[in-house]
């Protein structure tokens, strides 16, 4: 396997150290090396690497570039709030601080190309230069010419430069509708369970034997593999729960060979971890403290356990009215809120598309007038249409219990949607003793 990495022009020793640092990714590294060719050879103008999170995209490419001492600039697009920052960082890494200061205010792609060419003429490339852009999907939100321009940067600057884009999204979602230069696509597949085991076992605790650690990882993967394949997260979880695994060993209750005993000890603990700390219901620090103090997991309530929200009286009714308006068809309002509505049977009343439950379809937008009309009929006392009733609607919007549909600046009959769940609204209506289920069309 280790023989896989071979490329003329790079010293053997470095190549072997690289391949040691890239377990389970020899194939991809080999392909990349083959693409890079010898240092002074021109490379393909742009390479697009995609794969899920924590599949080693950045790790492989950056290790290669660093170990082989190739000139490169690595930029994460999430940091670049503007294209100017992107250019600045690239120039800084390629030609030093002098070049970056030459960039004008809010530079365009052509400014970048101009300065690049200027410095490139001074120090022409001895080796291929690489620009690595992590989280490249964010490039799509920047100026429209940026992505196509970067893809054929080699032509534009007339230099031996290659742009490598890294993303979790497939290339099809990138292609601009004006068309562009097609980069070379390279996929990084997910690690298999065996590969995960191999990689995770590498960082074993120095005070215990590697075999023990790898058996621990085996148990861990048995619990978590079905929900999480993120290497980074798995490693984090492994570190968090390892002390608990070692507890019987420390106390002298078990030996390293008693795998079954160790398994019995750790398995329920890991299952609990999956429901709490993995979902970040309980923070990692709290989880560790809890392990140390030997408390039961029930002592700590997760974040989602605190779902109750205390609201002013009229806000509660406004929210209830909004919920009714969102989940009942407008035609049925007569039936629910008029005293003498006559008898309307549900079956005759249904239109074809309304046969599916409104709760499955999600909330529908409703105008302000309808909200207020329902509000006045559900609230049990006479309410004057005061300014504070209206301001409560907008504070419900900022609390994200309602959402405004359409533009914010729409003064004329704004539309809203209710953004709370049935459980939440039932809890709210219980506090004001309002039986909301009786008023919901779906539950008739």
């Amino acid at each position: 396997m280790l023989a896989g990495l071979q490329c003329p022009g790079y010293p053997e020793a470095k190549l072997s150290s690289v391949s040691e640092r890239l377990p389970c990714r020899e194939g991809q590294a080999g392909t990349l090396l083959a693409l890079m060719g010898e240092p002074e050879q021109y490379c393909f103008p742009s390479i697009f690497i995609y794969g899920h999170r924590a599949t080693g995209k950045s790790h492989v490419i950056l290790t290669l570039l660093k170990e082989l001492e190739v000139p490169h600039a690595a930029v994460s697009c999430v940091e670049c709030v503007s294209a100017g920052l992107l250019f600045e960082q690239v120039l800084l890494a390629m030609f030093g601080s002098e070049s970056a200061t030459l960039l004008p205010r809010s530079p365009s792609l052509s400014d970048f190309v101009r300065i690049y060419r200027q410095f490139c003429a001074q120090e022409p490339a001895q080796q291929t230069r690489y620009i690595v852009l992590e989280r490249a999907e964010l490039l799509r939100d920047m100026e429209a010419n940026l992505l196509p321009g970067l893809l054929r940067l080699q032509e534009l600057v007339d230099d031996n430069v290659t742009v490598i884009l890294l993303s979790e999204i497939v290339w099809d979602k990138f292609r601009p509708n004006t068309g562009c230069f097609e980069p070379l696509l390279l996929h990084f597949p997910d690690y298999t369970k065996a590969e995960l085991l191999q990689i995770l076992s590498l960082d074993s605790n120095p005070s215990y034997s590697p075999e023990l650690y790898s058996s621990y990882i085996n148990i861990l993967l048995g619990v978590f593999y079905s929900v999480c394949r993120d290497l980074r997260e798995l490693r984090h979880l492994a570190a968090l729960n390892f002390p608990k695994f070692c507890e019987p060993l420390e106390k002298g209750e078990a030996k390293e060979s008693d795998t079954h005993k160790l398994w019995r000890n750790i398995e329920p603990h890991l299952k609990r971890a999956m429901q709490t700390v993995y979902l970040r219901e309980v923070s990692s620090v709290q989880w560790e403290q809890q392990q140390m103090e030997e408390k039961e997991a029930t002592a700590l309530r997760g974040l989602s356990a605190h779902a109750h929200v205390e609201l002013p009286y009229y806000s509660k009714f406004l929210l209830i009215a909004a919920y009714l308006a969102s989940y009942n068809p407008a035609r049925t309002d007569r039936r629910f809120f008029l005293k003498h509505h006559g008898k309307i049977k549900k079956t005759n009343f249904l239109k074809k598309h309304e046969k599916t439950s409104n709760h499955l379809l999600g909330p529908k937008p409703f105008p302000l007038d309808r909200l207020l009309a329902i509000f006045y009929s559900v609230v049990d006392s006479r309410v004057a249409p005061t300014a504070s009733v209206f301001s409560q609607i907008s504070s419900l919007v900022t609390l994200q219990l309602l959402t405004q549909v359409g533009h914010d600046d729409q003064l004329d009959s704004p539309k809203y949607k209710c953004a709370v769940s049935l459980d939440f609204i039932s809890a709210i209506s219980r506090t004001v003793s309002f039986d909301i289920v009786r008023y919901l069309y779906d539950f008739l």
């Binding site: 504070s388 504070s395 994200q400």
Partner: protein, 678 residues
Amino acid sequence: MSTSSVSKGCFVFKPGSKKRKRTVAVDEYFTDGSDDCGNGRERFNICQTLWEKIKMDTEVLQEELNTKILDSLLDFIKRCTSSFQSRTDDWTSHMRASEIPTAALVLGVNVPDHDVTFQSLSELLRKSVTPFAVSVQAKECAALKNLMQKVLERLMGVGVTLEDDEEDTGIHLPHKKVSCSVSALSQWYKSMMKTRAIKSPDKTGGSENGFSQSPPIIVIFKDFEAFNPRVLQDFILICNRYIQELPFIFIFGIATSPSTIQHMLPHSVSSLLCIELFQSLPCTQHLATVIDKLILTSQFPFKLSSKVLQVLVSIFLYHDFSVRNFVKGLQLALLEHFHSQPLSVLCCGKNEALLYAQKLSHQDVEMVRQLPSFMSILKFHSMLVLNSLTEVCQRFLKDLRKYHKNYYPVLKCLHSLTSSLPKYPLGKQIRELHISCMEKNVWETNEYESAMQLLRLLAKDELVLSLRKCADILKPDKTKKMKSALQQLENYIAKFEQLDSKYFFFFFFFFFLNSTTNYFKICSSAISLLRSYLTPPELQPLNEVCYYSSSGVLRRHLNATPRTSIQTALSHPFYYLQNESLKTDAGTVSNSAPDICIAYKLHLECGRLINLFDWLEAYATVTSAAEGKDPDSEDFGKVDELKHARFIQAVSELEFLGFVKSTKQKTDHVARLTWGGC
């Protein structure tokens, strides 16, 4: 104004600085227009000192209420800071993903109150943990760029000024272009730490300010819900890339519930945070403390009548849950009282009040005579007329003070007795009891009766326990009456305890047969002891001096009804314009009213769709009548250009106000948007 120019055109004139409006000093609002020019200033001064005191007290109260949560938050931050520093190279910390410590601060939906909390929080942080604490609001961070800019600006701006204070050779930022990125921040932080290390090389660990060696960078998101989720996610991702170099700590100010974090941030982002939860006191409890400290006390001479208190409390409970707004309402009531009631000059401390009472002018004395409470007293004590009125006033003022001194402790006793009863016949909160006591004689109400019945059913131990509580409430009071009341109460308790428990059980069997036993006598007389002090304040002479009672004014100011005001303006123009010619009977509009009122009145008579031409004709008839034309003449009600234009303007104004809108259902028609009318 004229110019020297010969050409025609538009010229811009800057407003001259000579004709500046005379600015009115605040206290002159009190003296202007009212008859007693002498007392205005004094009233203003009393009002000011009272308000200052109320303000101080509420601030102290707020701080006391917040100390617990702020202390625990501070603990958390200090713990995080020390864990940043003690980050060693051991196996676990190497393996663990580095998370950003985050405090989720759940503060409740009363967003206006949060400002004070955040202010004291950031002051506390600056004082004891780190100079690098910034707070950001959602409205200034629409995009990631703005958020970064704000954070960097506030961090580095503060840093630079600090540098100037401390030394001259400080680093100076390249001001022309600080790129808006966290890497710039990281460089800045490093250089800051270097200069600090140079300054205090000998002191390791705690440095001169009490800050630790590498103080954390704390970012406070004041209104977490209002942030754009994308912006937050990106910001967290960026910060997480630099967590090894920059010790970030986040504080999320959450108004609803902590589960919003999970709604707003996907797992990939929330897994970068190490979230700990901090929950503040519910705002209702906060209000209860404020009412207890500001209203249920004889310390402040200024009082609210039951209606006014009800208005304030209902605004709180029904609309906003905001204690700050409640205190603002209290301030308004205070101002209104001292502004509108000339006798409020007597509403101050005991000695000053007596002093003022001596100096009452003839006019004031007349006003005292006119007070309803004074008049009703006069009927019973005709001899009062003989005495000098100032002396009578002084006596009444003293009585009023005594009444208050006795009222509040007894109220608290009654509340402590009844608040544990099932179904709370006299209200769960003491403010409800207070309101009902102020409205009428509380012992005549049915609720009181049922509460007493429930009290009689209490077991002996429980009753003794709650009576003991009452005694504890009465103990700190110094007045004679309260002391004697306490004495009596303690006698009763002793008697209860003497009652044999055997006798007690026996007694229960004969409960229905014989209800006038010893036990019941003691019980009811113990309670009736309390009630003699709980007469409503309206029966007290001179209560108008201290009690503010115009709830309507307060409601109009605090809980505005724009729709109703518009309708009043349109249907009763006299109400706002105060022009005699507009005065009409209810339901009619004078024909000399403004055009829009006439158009409004006419449109009320129409159905859902209004024919514009008919409307115009009717309008023309009405305005012709207003011009005084002969109804039989030829051109009466004829539409000329002027009337047409006025009509169109009125209709478009109505459209702007939302009464009509154009429709495509029928040509030349507009649709009515309101119901009702004639």
